[in-house]
């Protein structure tokens, strides 16, 4: 560390100020764009067909709740919502259950090939999803799990493990080693050290991994499109695509925006519940 700070070039106060202004401007611009888009979508979800293209950011003259009804029933989001909720929740739980012990062992245990194994997980993050379409489809067909939520759940778990293990490995590495030593002296086996001491302390890391995976899998579209054919098994992103197709012929843009609003609500709820723990996880060095 000392070496880095000694060799790092010193910047003048003016340059530092300039850099800070630039960084803050970008962050604010990004935040403003994101918030403006969401506000526009939510406002539009309550507007009438005539109002939506003319009034911009103005409040709707009256709240058109029937847009949500249209998206829920005509767009069948009501049918797809439980599919997504069960699929994503189960997948995230399994990902955490599988990844946490793996990450703990990779961060703490001493064994030959540990670094190679960690790198294999990191490598898993670099594989583009479209490359997996054919092999995954074949494997699921062989397992007779094609066009099923169980099959997609298995795939979701598999593609989420590399990132989750990577994230949690960094988190477990940042936890104090003395706690582990204390637990061993208190009579814990390796599994008990993990179960009673390290896992509860990794709460912020697990929350971070949980929320990031939830958002990612909730919005996952490509694999679901390839692996799910039956309308009954569709997830919300597929439903939204179908809704877009339906609405563009009827010019029911408010109905589409109501559908989008319905879809983003769960991620906002999950974020609201876990964000505090997630932020403390990030500040503890879990996310680099």
């Amino acid at each position: 560390m000392a070496g880095i700070s000694q060799t790092a070039p010193r910047r003048s106060p003016l340059m530092r100020l300039g850099g800070r202004i630039l960084a803050y401007s970008l962050v604010w611009a990004w935040a403003a764009f994101t918030i403006a888009s969401m506000v526009w979508v939510v406002l539009s979800a309550f507007k009438s067909k005539r109002e939506v293209l003319r009034s911009g950011f103005r409040l709707p003259s009256e709240a058109n709740w029937e847009n949500f009804g249209t998206a829920w029933t005509v767009g069948k989001l009501g049918a797809y919502f439980p599919n997504s909720l069960i699929l994503v929740t189960v997948s995230v739980v399994i990902v955490l259950v599988v990844s946490a012990p793996a990450a703990y062992v990779l961060s703490r245990a001493k064994f030959r090939g540990r670094e190679t194994l960690t790198n294999v997980f990191v490598l898993g993050m670099a594989i583009p999803i479209p490359m997996l379409f054919i092999p995954v489809f074949s494997v699921l067909a062989w397992l007779r799990l094609n066009d099923s939520l169980t099959g997609v759940s298995l795939v979701f778990v598999a593609i989420s493990i590399p990132f989750t293990v990577y994230l949690l490995t960094g988190f477990f590495s940042s936890l104090p080693k003395e706690l582990e030593s204390a637990a061993i002296l208190d009579g814990c086996t390796d599994f008990q050290v993990f179960r009673y001491v390290m896992l509860p302390m990794a709460g912020p890391g697990l929350a971070t991994a949980g929320i990031l995976n939830f958002i990612w899998l909730w919005n996952e579209y490509q694999l679901s499109l390839v692996l799910l054919n039956s309308p009954d098994n569709r997830t919300l992103p597929l439903g939204l695509y179908a809704l877009q197709n339906a609405m563009q012929y009827t010019n029911n843009w408010p109905g589409l925006f109501a559908g989008v609003t319905i879809i983003i609500v769960p991620t906002i709820i999950v974020y609201a519940i876990l964000s505090e723990r997630m932020i403390s996880g990030m500040t503890m060095g879990a996310v680099k």
Binding site: L179, A182, A183, I184, L185, D186, G187, C188, Q192, M201
Partner: protein, 369 residues
Amino acid sequence: MTADTKISLSIENVEKYYGGYRALSDIDISVVEGEFLVLVGPSGCGKSTLMRCIAGLEKIDAGTLRIGGRDVTSAIPSERGVAMVFQSYALYPHMTVADNIGFPLRIAKRPKAEIKARVAEVGRLLKIEGLLSRRPRELSGGQRQRVAIGRALVHQPQIYLFDEPLSNLDAALRVEMRVELARLHNATGTTMVYVTHDQVEAMTMANRIVVMNGGVIEQIGAPLELFNNPANRFVAGFIGQPTTNFVNGRVVSADAGAITVELPGGKPFPVAVTERLKGPTPTLEVGIRPQFFSLAQDGAADLTITVDVVEQLGDETLIYGELDGDQSITVQVAGQHHVARGARLDLAVDHDKVMLFDDRGLNLCRRPS
């Protein structure tokens, strides 16, 4: 050590390597039951490594460890009969104080009623009964340290291991906890091995001190024995506060029982020695503790220094100066003395307390205590 003295911990020829680096070399220590043994030395000397080896958190590469006569060299930590208090307290942050203290019993699957009773008992002993439902983050440094000690106490081990337990506390709290640990040792009568780099802690708490440096033992002895009769230059420099002055002295004459030396700008004086000089030696390193100087009366000066800095501590005065030849000298004299910076100050030395070190750093003046 008498014949019926029970050995609580026996460390025999222990060696520890990290790759090619030898962290511990030929460590040989016997700790008597009920003894308070302090391992002391500078950072990186191997004292914490040795403690972790005793605890079983590190495997030793050679030698034998026995606890209560039982060979525990290959035993897992929880089967060694030791409990450890860590520098950072190592409290489980997600558990309450009661859960922290009771955790070893919970892991040992003791009945809940027993756990509750033992936790309450330890809480009373350490005066933390009112804190049992709090979490570690809601406690002060001193309270956390008590909880950490409580978790060790509940083990009822044969040996307590303390790894620099007071170094995260402020000065006042450190003194308070030092006294409490001494009380605890008296109350439990259990063997304690204590690691510190603070030689004041070592001197005040230990029955015996092990001075370590570079992975080897420099000397083992009672605190005053180390202060009065350090085996070598390292121990003389490490034990004692302020640190010992080391000055190059010219050898005027060397007889079987005494060597006469002369310090720069001073007059020759004889020093009784117990070791003979090996061969002709023109100079020797002279060690004089700051406490063994006094302000010289007319004509009785052994040396004269030029005063640089004076620190008034109320009951004593610390004077930092230089001998001719730019060798630094620290003088500690009782009472309040007002000396101007740059003044020439005549000093007398207690000749019976002067130490001489040969070119290997060995003390030539090991006097019987």
